[in-house]
Amino acid sequence: MTLDTVSHAAGTPETALPWAELGLKEDEYERIREILGRRPTGAELAMYSVMWSEHCSYKSSKVHLKQFGEKAPETDALLVGIGENAGVVDVGQGYAVTFKVESHNHPSYIEPYQGAATGVGGIVRDILAMGARPVAVMDPLRFGAADHPDTKRVLPGVVAGIGGYGNCLGLPNIGGEVVFDPCYQGNPLVNALCVGVMKHEDIHLAKASGAGNKVILYGARTGGDGIGGVSVLASETFDSTKPAKRPAVQVGDPFQEKLLIECTLEIFREDLVAGIQDLGGAGLSCATSELASAGSGGMRVELDTVPLRDSSLSPEEILMSESQERMCAIVEPGKVDRFLEICEKWDVIATVIGEVTEGEQLEIFWHGDKIVDVPPRSVAHEGPTYHRPYARPDWQDALQADDAGALPRPESGEELRKHVLQVVASPNQASKSWITDQYDRFVQGNTVLAQPEDAGMVRIDEESNLGVAVSTDGNGRYTKLDPYTGAQLALAESYRNVAAAGAKPLAVSDCLNFGSPEDPAVMWQFAEATRGLADACLELGTPVTGGNVSLYNQTGETAIHPTPVVAVLGVIDDVHRRTPMGFAEDGQLIYLLGDTRDELGGSAWSQVVHDHLGGLPPRVDLERERLLAEILVAASRDGMIDAAHDLSDGGLAQALTESCLKGGHGARIVVPDSIDPFVLLFSESAGRAIVTVPRSEEVRFNDMCGARGLPVTRIGIVDGDGIDVQGQFVLPLAELREAHEATIPALLA
């Protein structure tokens, strides 16, 4: 087969190309021909097909994502915003923190271990590419029903993959979520978050500037794995004599990634790069076109110099390969030798594959023949934009009318006790330590708080004790009932969690997991959720710094619950002031902060006891969330509280269970006259937390809350070795612990 060069393509306009097999639409292919003024070469088609995929181009979502920029709150904290590998936030003392959450859903269903492992690897390289040392990871996960046989295939593989890769990189895993719901049966969600720390002056961007600067590809050799992972499997139409379809899932090597991290940080320390980009989805196609597009000038790449694992790979396959553990740097000629020396020290393969040119085109050569000649912006930043039709689904009204308030409620103390045990032992509410104990949470020696605490927290400066806290939250059930409110509730919970740990919330990253954008009902959910999130971010003053959209999460015609996962980053001036969730000392007073209403729509109780989803989710009051957060942070700073725990799914029953079991102390609860015991225990009203107040601080704490207008109710005292809801029931901690901790190992071990 002759090489499909640019000149060959110009001379053979009628040659049919497999654009449809590569996932392109007819009008998209026509647009490529228009841009180029001829038919694309096979290599050019490969690049456009992956870069114009939904995953890379955000073609269905970007008209909605615009709001995160348009409604961005005024803040001095944002140093780098949406559009780079990850956003960067100023946390004071000259430090900048970068963080981002991303999805690796589809690969993790096909190949749970490698899919999840490379999800961690990809997000870590994004953070590294900003110039930061990665300091922590988290994994928000969603699986099908806990007792479904396939969950036992997918979950252990995903958890082992996250652990196997993350543990080997030396990154503490400090939080995340595990949620089960039948809607994720054929489409689990595997999201991964990474946090990195740097000094302000160390921020690096992905752009190629300065004609004559060298393009260096370093890290692992390029193989045939992950080809077309972002679009579709590369079809054999390219060349049927080549090895048959390979897995679209990449295979990870965490040891190589660890070397890449240390090597890259040493290269940063010596200020050797002018621009840098990691290779993730769409591989070299993405890195070269994005670097060239963001910079000034063009780029020339000699593709045959790329080190390969498999010498039979075609140029198209090399451009599309998503082999892991690779980075691409732009380096001034005078610094190339030192750059290569450092790579040699770390046994990292590095190759000069091209240079920045004066021109405007991205040109790629194969043994001297030009096979790509494209305007880089047209590949990387000017992909198609869709205004997909969207419409409120016709079932939405019926769903909301099916009020959870009408469900039969427990009628006696004994029945209430039974429901508490049932809820805290249910897979979603049960202890996840069987899972999280497979992740190293101590490495790097800076972990202050880790799961099951409300937020993970790491120290970032050993002298000043400056720290950051991160939480991720998302509730697909709430979002299904009302996408606008559900997305806001995800933000509110994450924001509240960070504050409950004692940190001031600063910024947001989100991973928006939805079904097919071609379904107007899904698109409506997406439009509503992004609008809700953008509005709430504006009101809370926390900008979205970046994130990821994952669409097509559905099996057949059935989409997953719309699941926006929201990560909030906060800062704490002195980690010694952090607030853990465990009750620490008998005799301390338990206060419930915020208002409890009769709100059970989408609740854990309605799911566990009645297998019900209907009605409206809890109301959102962002002004109240902000006040609550301020009180939590101030009370922690001034030493007025010893423990705090946010109230969310499972309500007070769940929060008390977790705080008592974590601290090893019981609680005696007196139900206030104004409220029904069942509602007190199971309502999921937002904007609430419990705290424990030492008696010596009670007056000061009450005064502060009174002065600021936050309703607080003293509901009991830390005491004994059980949860004693007076006049209702007593639950010994031993029985509670057995119920809470036995579920997950029994299902999965």
Binding site: G163, C168, L259, Q438, D440, N446, T447, V448
Partner: protein
């Protein structure tokens, strides 16, 4: 004159910076050593930290034992220099035969990360002098290849000579024979254990305890008193 304690970094080592910090907190001076170093830079004791050197490919410690720095470490250990191997470092010490036995995959086949209770069985080694025999301490454990095994004769010998330095208390997390968490060589200068004392040296950080600090103060006191 400060005491210099070498901390070796192999490709894939993870807890080297944490170990350097623990050495500093104890009052000694950490000396970073690179796997290609052929001399020990006047270090008076050596810590082989945890991690996944060479990705644990082939077998934990199987490749790093051939590093140039290990030639120097093994020679110095045979001459009496104190050497502590933590986790991957312990695995490496068995690979170099400075300590007997081997580590297999945990009996439950999972990575496990937890706060682990240990009983100090031998407070007479270079690294345990600040503890008392029988004392229970709590430090983090995190590994997937942590199941200590050796033949019966070796185990009996270790017991008879008091060379079982630490035992898991309360719960054996990986199926280690005779609950062994750490051992010493006959001279008591080489000690290896699976749990991580360097992660329990500061209040609030990690599990929040400081039970691991004794390892580093023990060696410091010993070297200052020489």
């Amino acid at each position: 004159m400060t005491v210099r304690i070498g901390v070796v970094t192999f490709p894939g080592t993870l807890d080297d910076r944490d170990t350097q910090r623990a050495v500093r907190i104890a009052g000694a001076e950490p000396v970073p050593l690179w796997h290609r170093d052929k001399d020990l830079k006047q270090a008076e004791a050596i810590v082989l930290p945890g991690g996944f050197s060479y990705g644990d490919y082939l077998r934990a410690g199987a490749i790093s034992r051939f590093s140039p720095v290990m030639e120097a470490v093994v020679a110095a250990a045979r001459d009496g220099m104190p050497v502590l191997g933590i986790c991957n470092g312990f695995q490496l010490l068995t690979e170099t035969h400075l300590l007997p036995g081997a580590m297999l995959r945990n009996n439950h086949l999972h990575f496990v990360c937890r706060d682990q209770k240990l009983r100090v069985e031998n407070a007479g080694t270079a690294w345990t002098a600040d503890y008392t025999a029988g004392q229970e301490i709590s430090i983090p454990l995190k590994n997937i290849d942590g199941r200590y095994v050796a033949d019966e004769r070796t185990l009996d010998e270790l017991e008879a000579e008091g060379r079982v330095a630490f035992r898991y208390a309360g719960w054996n997390p990986n199926g280690s024979l005779r609950d062994i968490a750490g051992i010493a060589n006959a001279a008591g200068n080489v000690v290896g254990l699976m749990p991580h004392p360097e992660h329990a040296v500061e209040p609030l950080i990690g599990t929040g305890g400081t039970d691991g600090l004794g390892f580093f103060t023990s060696i410091l006191r010993k070297l200052v008193n020489v």
